[in-house]
Symmetry: C2
Subunit: 584 residues, 2 copies
């Protein structure tokens, strides 16, 4: 109890603290080149064991992967070489719309063939707007294996953010299991299901503490106080601030499962950005952040500068079995090792959804933002259910559990190739009117499918995401849905089954633009988007094991307008065959 | 100690006991069709943990994979579907020469592109001769992950073996680690090297006992007596024999590392086949078997039929840290659970190479077998060294550590594509005359390479495999070298450095034909083969981590004569690009 947290300068490496407004690096957008090798490295993100055990998927030997910092309008050119031994790999640039470059979206079986070991694929795309983004693996459960990193897009040269700050921090949030991803995948595909359970640790910039606590003296448990020299793989990064200054904290969640609540002891925060879009600023004591979401919050270092304060992340939406993740807000000139004088923030109860919904309902687009079209051309209602199919536990959308084909859609649709015409029929646009969302799914005809919803370019589409009871009575889970290639407006949330009477309550005035939106237990969420980006795009629950269990759908938009797909994106399955058949 | 081994009928399932000579299934060769899915399953081959932990690579849900039983001249047609989530896969048919079908040899980066997840590749090839074979993964370390099974080729209809027996058993031998193969691979590729260590268990037909012993009452340690109901994944298969009858025991070793000694308490065995070739029968109390080798031995059940006897496998050639693997030779009508009345066989000391060499030197071709050509056209001397390259620990052959290219050789050579002309130059045919094999490698210019030895069809090639000291003083390891696409004659073994004076002692009269031959510590082995099979073939140390560390070479034989390579074998890397460039 008397032990002190030893923190030194090493801890703050990696948390970028940038003073803006003083730099002028030149005019116009530029192309930023990166050469990345993906490989496994020995690493223990939460120091649960010595680093001779446990591996993570790393980029250029770094976990998390390198942070990209660029400006809106820049072109990113990543030459990605697969240095794994037997596994393919892809990288998805989460939140980047890939306007005109659908083959660079980095989704295996959807936008491209996985990159084979030893091969290099070039991801080249334009950063269409400023914001807080990240990148991650999108093949099997390679995101859970550690393949992720931050992608920070500042405003274009000469542009200004609609808020001011003196410095910034970037916190990429993730969760970590001690069981290997390969074992997790097998368990999820087993009969009966072997669920992965709750994560052992929550990581902040790839660092968590499993067998010790930074705040042991405030804990009732017998957990030991952490003693770090600063060189440990799991030593926390401390946020160092000058009194009275304002900081932008970028938060992005690439968790496999965990919904999180972020708070800073003694401080309020002001939300200014969500998923790369400005929101009307509002102050809160804490925020919920779901997998696939990102936020920028402003923090004013306006508290007693003689003290340090806790930065905490707590599990929400599931009975928490994972310790709160902590780091320290360190007022310069205190020593970083000075332990805060009060206990870490207490998060709302895990199932206090009233708190979560209140937060969601505070998010509006910044005044002056683009409004959604008044009318949608088509509405697709997607019922989320947990099902048994041949005794395997699956998630299904309108009774269909997604199975990705071995030939990526982008190539097979563009070239008119199909395994089976049935696969590509339009899946159901809605679900039975008498489906009772309050009880476990009875639908015995749930099935697997690889179907595609097809849209014409620029059509306006409404999506009603409808939650329901899971297989166990009185259980309904949170699902954060993420759309590729587009942002959508979140028109509203509601309880129970969505109904025509709810339409009048939808917000067409100032709904926020997002790329990820949650459905709450037993609730619905309505989204609107303009299908303006030709390509094939995933829309799925961002909880990685849920996607693995089939929780997603595929949207295709005027694929005939897509040109110049790089050959490597097509070098598998039926598209490869097609080129072979045309051999001279 | 008073506990009894409980054995029931379940134990003998899977050990095939076939009475020959009584069946006549039709005339001529046939095509045998198989549909196989490769996937991970939860499995614990040595019951080290409950089966909710640990995974193995299985075929159609079976570990080891299904046993193929066929006849010489038959065609095998395996439709192999990759049901892994992110890993490619191939299967090598070990000992089958693939005459005219080099693309079916199942070596990733050499004979074909790895099969992508979700895709199916058809292995279709002829079983050119009778013998005891097996199949296994040949990509990364997927063999260690459990991807293997038996391939038993009986003589053609109407033909007879040159020995008689009343029944047969098939024992596929392997070794097992508790660390995942993915972690092993990372450790082997790390700087400094993290060696995988000795296996936790030796498996007989995929079954070993880690936390108990079948012979605890004979052990000095505190290990517990095994208590099996028979349904356990690690329950041993018992060999049930009738007194006075003669049995053929087929042995094949697909170990990743371990060299083994096989013995049956109280019985002599007669060796009649090695690697699918008949040998002049000889009796021994025990035999050494190295990874990649197979034998048939005859056992006469001529001992006291009131007793049962131990069947044992012990580690040779490395300081043993792995318990002896055991099962029981059960004389019918004893109960299978009757514990043998004497302790298990005691193997020769691990480093008693005199014993090993005496066995090797007893193996001669069956009288009347084909003799080797009198003269060789070319001799290639291959120095085996352990090296440091940029501080990574590697194995090198004539100073070059093999790195496999991402485009398989068969396609890139056939179509005249190369990454880099340097890669495809002929590697050195010999090594410096003054190289001192008795001390650690000094050669600081060891390097990586993907070079190829090129042969004209039907040229006669001699290979001198030269062992040497490893990186540690006074250490030289055993390496079993395996050749693809061909058998070779083993002309002789010797001590120290091979010298022209040794030529006169080589055996040209009745050397055995093999596909795998060992080099002993500080020794040499001379092989001769006729390069009669156009294609690209691996020749490598069959210890999987050694191959992973570069211990192999590549032979190309008149590749321009190879036709009709299946398109899927070419659908990666430069060969895929070539077809894309020729697109209409």
């Amino acid at each position: 109890m008397g032990e002190k947290l030893v923190v030194n300068g090493v801890f703050v490496l990696g948390v970028s603290l940038m003073l803006l407004g003083s730099l002028s690096l030149g005019l116009g957008a530029k192309t930023r080149h990166f050469k990345w090798d993906v490989e496994y490295i020995h690493w223990s993100p939460d120091c649960s064991s010595n680093s001779s055990e446990g591996i993570v998927m790393a980029i250029n030997g770094q976990f998390p992967g390198p942070t990209i910092v660029a400006r809106a309008g820049d072109t990113i050119n990543v030459e990605l070489t697969n240095k794994l031994f037997t596994e393919g790999v892809v990288i998805h640039w989460h939140g980047i719309r890939q306007i005109g470059t659908p083959w660079a979206d980095g989704t295996a079986s959807i936008s491209q063939c996985a990159i084979n070991p030893g091969e290099t694929f070039v991801y080249r795309f334009i950063l269409d707007k400023a914001g807080t983004y990240f990148y991650h693996g999108h093949y099997g459960m390679q995101r859970s294996a550690g393949l992720y990193g931050s992608l920070i897009v500042n405003v274009a040269e000469g542009e200004k953010e609609p808020f001011r700050y003196d410095g910034e921090f970037n916190l990429l949030l993730s969760d970590w299991w001690h069981q290997s991803v390969h074992e997790q995948e097998v368990g999820l595909s087993s009969k009966p299901l072997r669920w992965i359970g709750e994560p052992q640790s929550i990581l902040i910039n790839g660092r968590g503490q499993y067998s010790c606590s930074l705040a042991a003296q405030y804990s009732n448990s017998s957990v030991e106080q952490c003693k770090f020299s600063g060189t440990e793989q799991c030593a926390p990064q401390v946020l160092r601030v000058l009194p009275t200054k304002t900081y932008r904290i970028r938060l992005a969640s690439t968790t496999a499962l965990a919904s999180l609540n972020f708070a800073i002891g003694g401080h309020k925060i002001v939300v200014v950005e969500a998923d790369g879009n400005y929101v009307q600023p509002f102050a809160v004591p804490d925020i919920d952040i779901y997998s696939g979401e990102s936020y920028s919050v402003l923090l004013i270092a306006d508290q007693n500068p003689k003290e340090n304060y806790w930065v905490s992340l707590s599990v929400r939406g599931r009975l928490p079995k994972t310790p709160q993740a902590l780091t320290v807000l360190n007022y310069i000139t205190n020593h970083a090792s000075k332990v805060p004088s009060t206990p870490p923030p207490v998060a709302p109860l895990w199932n206090n959804y009233t708190h979560s919904k209140a937060f969601s309902n505070k998010i509006f687009a910044l005044i002056g933002s683009q409004k959604p079209p008044i009318l949608a051309r088509r509405r697709i209602s997607l019922l989320n259910t947990q099902n048994k199919i041949n005794d395997y536990t699956k998630w299904a959308i309108n009774n269909i559990s997604l199975v990705l084909p071995s030939t990526p859609y982008l190539g097979s649709i563009k070239y008119g190739l199909t395994h089976n015409s049935l696969d590509y029929k339009q899946p159901p646009e809605t679900f039975p009117i008498d489906y009772d969302i309050m009880v476990p799914a009875k639908n015995p005809n749930a099935t697997h499918g690889s179907g595609v919803y097809t849209f014409r370019q620029n059509h306006v589409i409404d999506i009603v995401l409808q939650n329901s009871n899971a297989l166990k009575a009185n259980e309904s889970e949170i699902h954060p849905w993420h759309l590729h290639g587009h942002d959508f407006w979140v028109l509203g949330y509601g309880e129970g089954r969505f109904d025509e009477r709810n339409v009048k309550d939808l917000n067409l005035k100032n709904p926020p633009l997002r790329n990820t939106a949650v459905i709450y237990p037993y609730g619905w969420t309505v989204l609107r988007f303009v299908a303006d980006n030709p390509g094939v795009w995933a829309f799925h629950c961002h909880i990685e094991p849920h996607l693995h269990m089939g929780m997603g759908v595929i949207f295709a938009i005027d694929v005939h307008k897509v040109g110049n797909v790089p050959r490597q994106a097509l070098a598998c399955g039926l598209t490869a065959n097609m080129f072979f058949e045309n051999k001279p």
